[in-house]
């Protein structure tokens, strides 16, 4: 049986539900040496800022039980260099380009969006989990008022397909999701990393130079599933799900929870051909459980 693997993320057509998560796949160059990138339906590239960024100094990673905490600090070549160098590279492959964008201010978000509006990207992913000084160090994405403002303004700045990436570090994610939908986002991606910290008891210092960072990997999978399930119940726009996916079975679990497509992040580090295996796993599941298409799987809980 030939399954219909296609996914329509409300304007972004994917040939299959498997994508890779921002910050875990660079701009695809490195993994291209280990896997045929044509397998991916999309790549969300490393978080972009207006200007190039050096990222955080010192130790950027701590390993935790079935997870890792990172504080890369948005090291990236800047949006212009991305357009010049990376888009042409990625265009060699049959995949959609999702530009993950990050600003210090709302204006900066809008400016990047305007620049990318003129560039050859298929979608813009608004990462609102960056810490925001005005919001007391909490991320943009945790304050409903700020979310409303940033999404509505970015929406006006571009006519591209717009994904908004939600932070799990909030009391009520449904409220945030509703605002994101109302302000005209096409799709929600979730979850970004969970705030976490590790301390080295021998040096008596936080393992990360920055203190805390973002927890990813299988440890956060149950948190992601719960939040995706909640948001699926709340909004009509599709969800791109992620958070600890390590297998085709995990990908299916996310889709049953309500994700229309999924992204593999930390799992790539463990298994550089995981996207391929996950695609095979999902296809096998469709076969075993007699689903005609991936779309029938989404949110299909009994």
């Amino acid at each position: 049986m030939k399954h219909n693997l296609k996914v329509d993320l409300n304007g972004l057509e994917l040939k299959n539900p498997i994508t890779v998560a921002s910050g875990t796949y660079g701009f695809g160059r490195e993994y291209a040496e280990y896997m045929d990138l044509n397998i991916l339906s999309a790549i969300s590239v490393k978080g972009l800022t207006l200007e190039p960024r050096k990222g955080n100094e010192g130790k950027r990673i701590a390993e935790t039980p079935m997870g890792m905490i990172n504080s890369v600090g948005l090291q990236n070549p800047g949006v212009y260099e991305f357009i010049r160098q990376e888009i042409p590279f990625l265009r060699q492959y049959d995949l959609k380009i999702i530009a993950n964008i990050n600003g210090n201010t709302i204006d900066e978000y809008c400016e990047i969006a305007r620049i990318l509006d003129q560039a050859d990207v298929d979608s813009i992913e608004l990462n609102i989990s960056c810490p925001n000084v005005k919001n007391g160090g909490l991320a943009f994405g945790t304050n409903p008022k700020v979310v409303k403002e940033v999404v509505s303004k970015v929406r006006k700045a571009t006519s591209k397909h717009l994904i908004v990436k939600l932070s799990p570090n909030v009391t009520d994610i449904k409220e945030i999701a509703r605002i994101v939908e109302e302000q005209g986002a096409n799709c929600i991606s979730m979850i970004n990393t969970v705030t976490g910290m590790a301390i080295d008891i021998h040096s008596r210092r936080p393992v990360l130079k920055r203190g805390s960072g973002g927890l990813s990997g299988p440890a956060i999978k149950p948190i992601a599933i719960k939040l995706i399930h909640d948001v699926y119940q709340t909004v009509k726009i599709p969800i791109l799900g992620m958070g600890g996916i390590m297998s085709g079975g995990d990908a299916v679990e996310f889709m049953l929870a309500g994700a229309s497509a999924i992204a593999i992040g930390t799992g790539n580090f463990v298994n550089p051909t995981l996207p391929k295996m996950a695609l095979e796993g999902v296809t096998q599941y469709l076969e075993d459980y007699a689903y005609e298409s991936t779309q029938h799987l989404v949110g299909d809980l009994r």
């Binding site: 490195e30 390993e63 990172n70 090291q75 550089p272």
Partner: protein, 261 residues
């Protein structure tokens, strides 16, 4: 495509309480390996620890790869006790290894602790290619690979902090002495960050440029995730972050900006 797959363990030899030498079959797909390069190795069947462990090759032959592993935590513990005949999931070779100029005549090799493992690989490679090697290797207590170092070096020093059967002291002191006496076409070093920092100070004093093999906790191991940063000079006044796994693990000592101790 680069190699990522299973390799069979042919032999595991315990060199010390906590140091194991593991020989695996060399996959045919792997063409060239340069001393100083490493493989990123899955160190679990259960899934924990989550991330792969980067391990340098300590010997390269046509049929085999050798890894020398010091047990520090769960990952290296698992690797050390993995049964002979079973398989390891490895990917690589990764990173930029040592730069080995075809015209090298006389070189100096410095190793500290488990850092002697990749240095041993380099030494064997160089001496096969008739380069004259001096070497200084230092340990907390007992040495490993002393025979290999003695056999393949023109001049060799084995230093121990605690064990009085060996010369006492630190690699840095002997290094300073040697560079005063001789001149080398290249100097290679691997060891704890404190050692690399202090030999770099000496090197700077003598205007020497060492090749340092540097460690860092890694995730992807191939340059995609940006967690394994090395701070290096960018022009005269600025710095930039490069990836230890991709631009490194070999860095020239005059480029690196060390973290304060």
């Amino acid at each position: 495509m680069k190699f990522s797959g299973r390799v069979k363990i042919i032999e595991t030899i315990q060199l010390q309480d906590d140091i194991f030498k593991i020989t695996v079959e060399r996959p045919v797909e792997v063409e060239t390996i340069i001393p100083g390069q490493f493989f990123n190795i899955l160190a679990t069947t259960s899934g924990l620890p989550l991330l792969r462990r980067p391990i340098s090759v300590s010997q390269i032959t046509d049929e085999t790869l050798e890894f020398t592993i010091k047990v520090l935590g769960k990952g290296t513990e698992w690797l050390a006790h993995k049964a002979v005949g079973s398989y390891l999931e490895i990917m690589g070779p990764l990173g930029n290894g040592f730069e080995i100029d075809g015209n090298l005549k006389k070189v100096l090799l410095l190793g500290g602790g488990i850092g002697v493992a990749p240095i041993k690989g380099l030494l064997e490679y160089l001496s096969q290619n008739d380069v004259e090697c001096d070497s200084v290797i230092g340990f907390r207590d007992l040495p490993i690979f002393s025979e290999e170092f003695i056999r393949n070096s023109m001049h060799n020093e084995i230093i121990s902090e605690k064990n009085s059967a060996y010369k006492q002291g630190y690699v840095t002191g002997y290094f300073e002495q040697l560079v005063k006496e001789s001149s080398y076409d290249a100097i290679f070093a691997c060891g704890p960050e404190a050692m690399l920092r202090s030999i770099t100070k000496v090197a700077d004093k003598f205007g020497l440029k060492l090749q340092l093999l540097m460690e860092e906790k890694m995730a992807c191991g191939i340059g995609a995730c940006l967690v394994c940063t090395c701070k290096v000079k960018d022009g005269d006044f600025d710095y930039k972050h490069v990836r230890k796994c991709k631009e490194g693990p070999m860095f020239y000592s005059n480029e690196v900006i060390f973290d304060e101790a």
